[in-house]
């Protein structure tokens, strides 16, 4: 058993070593670091102010209260933050393939996926994560839900699953770079921006849009369903239990696409 886990432990260790090197290179410029953190916080405050202004006029959006919508926002920001802080390298995949830099990763005895995700660090993610958790905390403090150990555990599972879904979506779509020979493929950005739709209750959308963000690109499991569970909204809580499975499924698909793409890789200059 211990033997079989060794490659996993080694992978995780190397991932943090690689990421650590990137962090050092960014922390060398302290002013830039502060500016990045600050910018992420300002963006979130702008979003918060927008929702707050709307709720000054209306009590709810299709039955969803101010703090529930804030929690949805916060989940989008936290998961985005996790993506930036720990997996920013996926955005570079198209460029790595296009320029042939991906060669380097194939000759090293470390999983190429680990090398790709640790290729960059986005410190703005830290600002997103901290503000996001603050907003969720405020949301929970303003709800009437009774908390038990099981519920807290489920909250942790849901947030982790939500983050996994977004990272998987990024990785899977970034792998399009193996086929689309363009340093900045539009596919990942396109899917990433769909997150805009997940900031509001899905009940406001038409059936087609709902199908898109529940089934095709499961953004609803990042924000909508987890929020329903956190606030104990019975009508939508049950699908929330599917979130971990959706996360595993997305990760499986993303890694499969990545592996397929890697077989398709033929370096530059051909």
């Amino acid at each position: 058993m211990a033997d079989r886990l060794r490659p996993v432990r080694r992978g995780i260790y190397l991932y943090f070593r690689l990421l650590g090197q990137q962090m050092k290179s960014i922390l060398a410029y302290q002013a830039d670091f502060v500016v990045l953190l600050f910018s992420a916080v300002v963006v979130q405050l702008a979003g918060f102010l927008f929702i707050w202004t709307i709720f000054q006029r209306i009590p709810s959006i299709n039955g969803w209260t101010f703090w529930q919508v804030v929690t949805m926002y916060a989940l989008i920001f936290i998961t985005e933050g996790v993506g930036s802080l720990f997996f920013e390298g996926t955005w570079m995949l198209g460029w790595l393939v296009w320029s042939g830099q991906f060669d380097q990763m194939l000759v090293r005895p470390v999983s190429p996926i680990i090398q790709v995700i640790a290729y960059r660090v986005g410190f703005n993610g830290l600002g997103n994560i901290v503000t996001g958790f603050t907003l969720i905390g405020l949301g929970i403090a303003n709800s009437s839900v009774q908390w038990s150990a099981g519920r807290v555990l489920m909250l942790v599972v849901l947030v982790a699953s939500a983050a996994t879904i977004r990272v998987a979506l990024n990785l899977g779509t970034a792998a399009s770079g193996f086929w689309i020979r363009n340093p900045w493929s539009m596919v990942p950005m396109f899917v990433h921006q769909l997150g805009e739709l997940a900031k509001y209750p899905i009940t406001i959308y038409s059936l087609g849009v709902q199908a898109l963000i529940v089934v095709a690109i499961p953004f609803a499991f990042v924000s909508f369903f987890p929020t329903a569970f956190i606030f104990g909204l019975d009508a939508w809580s049950l699908p929330a239990l599917l979130t971990p499975f959706v996360a595993v499924y997305c990760l499986f698909v993303a890694v499969s696409i990545f592996r397929r793409g890697m077989r398709n890789y033929e370096s530059s200059g051909h």
Partner: protein, 267 residues
């Protein structure tokens, strides 16, 4: 006349550079399209449930406001703090300093070059969205339409002046991406791009009133819809023009101060 010709060629060059990076333009566009779609559904829901909560806007007017805001924000996306930051950091400004041209005018020429393409793509997207959501309010009347175009031009100049001033920060930090993102977030709130300023509570509205941002979206969009009476329209357009001129002037002063202090890589 020859003086203008050389700046026109900068604009053309800038347009050509942008055409090489078509996918970047598409990415910029995609970034806002989903946002616009979300806004349409959100306001539609609010309108259906609580028509009284629309701050005096009818649903077609609100749709018009969102799309005009989208169009204005789609212009001059190519020009941001990052480019200027890079030029200062890598010493490329030295080339411009050595040329017999006005630095700010050259940057302005660079910034407006890609506008035809940006505007065209944004208009296509706006038309599709407008049709999908059952039409939008047209300009209140001919006079308002003309004043809107004037106001939109002033908005573009204001945006240039603003970005140019903020770019001067590049003399002190290399983190221009963060600066750009923060500027856009503040701009989105106080320009009325996220939500018409009348929705704000009094204290927030008074902050917006003394900042230059309202000239970027609020003033042109309200002029388009004819939501302000004549004295207010004239006042707001004057304020907008004053900010446009003021920011250009401030940018010139800041550049004069900063360029004296500049040390290019390698002494």
């Amino acid at each position: 006349m020859r003086g203008v010709t050389k700046y026109v060629s900068f604009s053309k060059a800038s347009l050509q550079i942008m055409l090489v990076y078509k996918s970047s333009l598409a990415v910029n566009m995609i970034g806002t399209v989903f946002y616009v779609i979300a806004m349409f559904y959100l306001w539609q829901t609010i309108f259906v449930n609580q028509p009284g909560a629309m701050g005096g806007f009818t649903w077609p007017e609100m749709k018009g406001y969102i799309l005009v805001s989208f169009l204005l924000n789609s212009v001059m996306t190519w020009y941001d703090e990052w480019t200027m930051g890079r030029d200062i950091r890598e010493g490329l400004v030295a080339v411009d300093l050595a040329r017999p041209i006005d630095f700010q005018a050259k940057r302005f020429a660079d910034a407006i070059g890609p506008i035809p393409i940006e505007l065209f793509s944004a208009l296509v997207v706006a038309a599709v969205v407008a049709v999908a959501f059952g039409g939008v309010a047209l300009p209140a009347d001919g006079t308002h339409a003309i004043l809107f175009i004037l106001s939109a031009v002033l908005a573009t100049i204001t945006k240039f002046g603003l970005v140019y001033c903020v770019s001067m920060v590049a003399f002190w930090t290399t983190g221009m991406t963060g600066i750009s993102v923060a500027r856009m977030a503040i701009q989105n709130i106080f320009s009325g791009a996220l939500i018409p300023l009348v929705f704000f509570p009094g204290w927030l509205r008074s902050i917006a009133a003394v900042l230059p941002f309202q000239g970027l979206v609020s003033t042109p969009a309200l002029t388009y819809l004819g939501k302000m009476d004549w004295p207010t329209t004239v006042l707001m357009l004057t304020v907008q023009a004053a900010w446009a001129a003021g920011l250009i002037l401030l940018g010139r002063l800041a550049w004069r101060g900063a360029s004296r202090a500049v040390t290019i890589n390698g002494g």
